[in-house]
Symmetry: C2
Subunit: 202 residues, 2 copies
DNA sequence: TGTATTTTGTTGCAGATGTATTATAACCAG
DNA sequence: CTGGTTATAATACATCTGCAACAAAATACA
């Protein structure tokens, strides 16, 4: 029997190297050799874990979707205190925005992949998965905000959830091209205002 | 004296070839040879107009910013009829969204360039220019919506303009990954609701 | 300890890519 | 028509890229 390696961990390590390169050089610079250098492996090792580069990119993007999706689901499960529900939800929403260095990197990674998905049909499904997950999350937030007395099958709330989702995406983009402190503060204000407004109308 | 060619037209023609490739294959596929083939020129001709590929990409992105900026400025200049001001503005805003094939292509082009700008400092300024132009446009729309009696130096309206800007960006992204008819209709609803809501609060 | 089996590292190769160089063709003033 | 200038085209070349092939090392079990 040969050396035993946790193949899944290995694949994740390689995928994270792809993330790093995508975040600060662009996905097109994530060549096999660059990835190998980034995670301190040889080209042969990468090839052992991923037959082709396309497979590697798919896996790297899928892993992003998985991580974010489970994180969103976990957040949904949290109980809200009744008192400051609006503030709690605003905080929850802000956690999805690139307001610190770590989230900014994640957002840059996602921007690279989702743009690549526009011209790479093999990746398109992951974009759609991510959008579904985000929209479910936003819908859940809006329902929580509106209180349990609101109708479950309201068309209006679905549109408001889409509004929220698009707003978060747009704010993310704006923060990526201008990550200044001022912009961050304004972004937080916008999210707070949105939540406030929603809470008021009901 | 030699053959005289309208150099500016030539450069634009080449830049548009870059746009085409970026829109349906991704900016990284816009190699010199691919661009030459796309616009029916030879590699040498491209090189005559652009010394390096980087210069070509910069020009192609700058041209997008110029076009959109002038278009937005033109739109701002139009007079609004007093009667259906909200509807008129909603229509104006929808014109910035990829609700038809032509705008969808433009949005794909812009997505490619703005993502590239995240990891290419030479392009970052164009992203910021575009954002400024869009935000001015949104601010102008909000002011028009609120009527002339609203204070000119309101911090709130600036935030609302940023909200609108981010919303448009996010809606654009969502439409690119799901350009279905249903999604387009929902997008229009969201824009109309936003404008309505803004008009009501004042 | 031996060895079969897997992992890892290196190298080779065909094709793509950016760009410099060179040669040809087109054009207009004289 | 012609000469000189420029536009266009073709090619050359060094580098990069994905991937395959192979060699070397490592390890778990007999």
């Amino acid at each position: 029997m040969p050396k035993l390696v946790n193949e899944e961990k290995r694949r994740e390590r390689i995928a994270k190297a792809v993330w790093n390169i995508a975040a600060d050089q662009g996905l097109e610079r994530a060549t096999i050799r660059a990835v190998a250098a980034e995670c301190g492996l040889s080209v042969g090792s990468i090839q052992h874990s991923f037959r082709t580069q396309e497979e590697l990119k798919r896996f790297a993007m899928e892993l992003v979707v998985q991580r974010v999706t489970t994180r969103l689901n976990d957040a949904e499960g949290l109980p809200f205190r009744a008192g400051d529900k609006a503030a709690a939800i605003a905080g929850l929403l802000m956690e999805t925005l690139p307001l610190d260095a770590e989230r900014e990197k994640e957002a840059r990674i996602w921007a690279a992949f989702s743009t690549a998905a526009l011209t790479d049909e093999g990746l398109g499904n992951y974009s759609r998965q991510m959008n579904s997950a985000l929209e479910r999350f936003c819908l859940r937030c809006m329902q929580e905000l509106n209180g349990p007395e609101s109708p479950k099958e309201d068309c209006g709330i679905r549109l408001e959830a889409m509004h929220l989702h698009s707003l978060l995406d747009g704010l993310t983009l704006a923060l990526l091209t201008d990550p200044s402190h001022a912009r961050r503060q304004e972004t937080k204000c916008i999210v707070r205002n949105f939540v406030e407004q929603c809470a008021k109308t009901r």
